[in-house]
């Protein structure tokens, strides 16, 4: 090949490359030469009329090379869902803090008399659910926000094992949440059936609006709202989680995407709600934690927050001043317990 031939060859190659580079934008004038690869990639992405593909690989959507809907979902998850979840999960503690600064804790004047409120099985079921829930919330939030919180802080190399560990732990503890949830539901549902007084309680904001403490039975309106939220969102969380744990059993990819949305939304709602539950059970209302730790509550606590239940206990003669000796015995052991079976 002489020098002229070489120059012509180079020129043709340059023109060809330039034409390919311009394929994404329609030509302004002249003859438009379509990219021969465009049809191929259009078919791969299955734009327009999806053409059925075949493969020997067995699995969900294994005959689909690029999932466009998946990309859209991923963008939505990163740009919308995670942002609003962060607003909610950061906002709720701020609201609780402001509430606490304005109202302070509800004080308790101990009466020295106790009422058995939760038996051993109630407490074990509650704390089992709480433990599993906190573990799942921690690992779940690590996976949800890790890319934005841990990676800039520790880097990708450090986040990689954290994410892997979180995923494995989350997947393994997930089914335990369902077991604990069902146990808690069965033990507490009879005491959480809705009543008109619960609506009144909620309308009065549990006494925050109007000043007067509204009447309540064994559980008040707020506690029942938490219970039914836990039941409904917890069930959604568990079922969607099981589907995500065993994706090969899902009938379609759309259902898996829906499961991801439901799982994330239900989890964020429950975690936000749990902040309020934890606050009310610890710093918000004095004497509440004791009920779930030792099983007993002070009589004044019961009269103040659950007056109808208190009256019922008094009518049934279950409220008695502890004999001094027994009080001392309880104090010595540190159990604060009258003994099991006094229901």
């Amino acid at each position: 090949m002489n020098a002229y031939g070489l120059l012509w060859g180079l020129l043709l190659a340059l023109l060809s490359t330039a034409a390919q580079a311009q394929n994404d934008t329609p030509p302004q004038s002249g003859i438009w030469i379509p990219n021969p690869g465009a049809d191929l990639w259009k078919a791969v992405r299955q734009r327009g009329q999806p053409e059925p593909s075949t493969t020997q690989v067995q699995g969900l959507d294994s005959n689909q090379l690029i999932n466009v809907a998946g990309e859209k979902f991923r963008d939505w998850r990163r740009e919308r869902f995670i942002r609003y979840a962060a607003y909610l999960l950061a906002g709720v503690p701020v609201v609780i803090l402001i509430f606490h600064l304005l109202h302070g804790a509800m004080k308790l004047e101990p009466s020295g008399r106790k009422l058995l409120r939760f038996d051993l099985y109630d407490r074990v079921a509650h704390w089992l659910l709480a433990t599993v829930f906190l573990f799942l919330a921690f690992t779940g939030l690590l996976m949800l926000f890790g890319r934005f919180v841990i990676v800039p802080w520790l880097g990708l190399d450090a986040f990689s094992p954290i994410a892997s560990a979180s995923k494995e732990g989350h997947n393994l503890f997930g089914p335990l949440f369902l077991v604990a949830l069902l146990w808690v539901f069965l033990r507490f549902v009879a005491r959480n059936l809705p009543a008109w007084r619960d609506v009144v309680w909620l309308l009065k904001g549990g006494g925050v609006l109007g000043g007067e403490h509204p009447s309540a039975g064994f559980f008040n309106g707020g506690e029942k709202l938490w219970f039914w939220s836990l039941a409904v969102f917890g069930l959604l969380l568990s079922l969607s989680g099981l589907l995500l744990d065993f994706p090969s059993y899902a009938p379609s990819r759309e259902l898996l995407v829906l499961a991801l949305v439901v799982h994330g939304a239900a989890a964020v709602i429950l975690v936000a709600f749990s902040f309020g539950h934890i606050y009310m059970g610890t710093a918000g209302v004095e004497g509440t934690l004791e009920g779930m730790r030792d099983g007993t509550v002070d009589a004044n606590w019961a009269r103040q927050h659950h007056d109808q239940w208190y009256d019922e206990m008094v009518r049934e003669g279950r409220l008695e001043a502890l004999p001094e000796a027994q009080e001392n015995r309880v104090d010595e052991t540190g159990t604060g317990q009258l003994g099991e079976g006094r229901t």
Partner: protein, 214 residues
Amino acid sequence: MTLAELVDGPLWTVALSVFVAGVAWRLLVLIGTGWKRDLSHPRSGSLGGAIRGVVGRFLPRQGMAGRLRLHLVAGYLFHLGLFALLFFAAPHVDFYRDRLFGFGWTPLPHWAFVLAAEAAFLGLMLLWLNRVLNPVTRLISESGDHAASVLTFLVMLTGCLALARSHETLRLLHFFVVELFMIYFPFSRLMHSFSFLLSRAAQGAHYGRRGVRV
């Protein structure tokens, strides 16, 4: 020497040595202690009593089953689950073959492994919650009981977190906690894994000789 080399090398040797020597020493002391010679006329055989003692205690006494329901269910869930994980989880079988015995055996399929892990975690959490929430068990529990529970939980948890077998850091973390567990084992309540047989047999033999049926 890097931390990984330390955990995989000398620390493992130390942990294994302490575990084997410690357990052997504790058992020898228990056996060597013996008991006071019983001069009474034997009413029945000691051997039968010992066997009855070992086997019979796997179920609670009549009348106690209701009160011990949580303990019983959680205890079996935990111990059977842990046994299955310890000896039949695929990573453990690989470890026994490559690092300890030179041979392996058929591991559990993945679904059975998951089931065993769920049972073990559920059982251990229930047992520990019962320990701290039941006023009686809380009263008789000591720091050693809680330490054994927490350490066992950490061993299981780190193992579960390393399940993907994709990160050396997670494997080393699990291995390190296992080594701490092995070093702590002979000097703690965890020794009941071995000593329960001796204590049940000794008490059963004593009762058997005296013709007591429990």
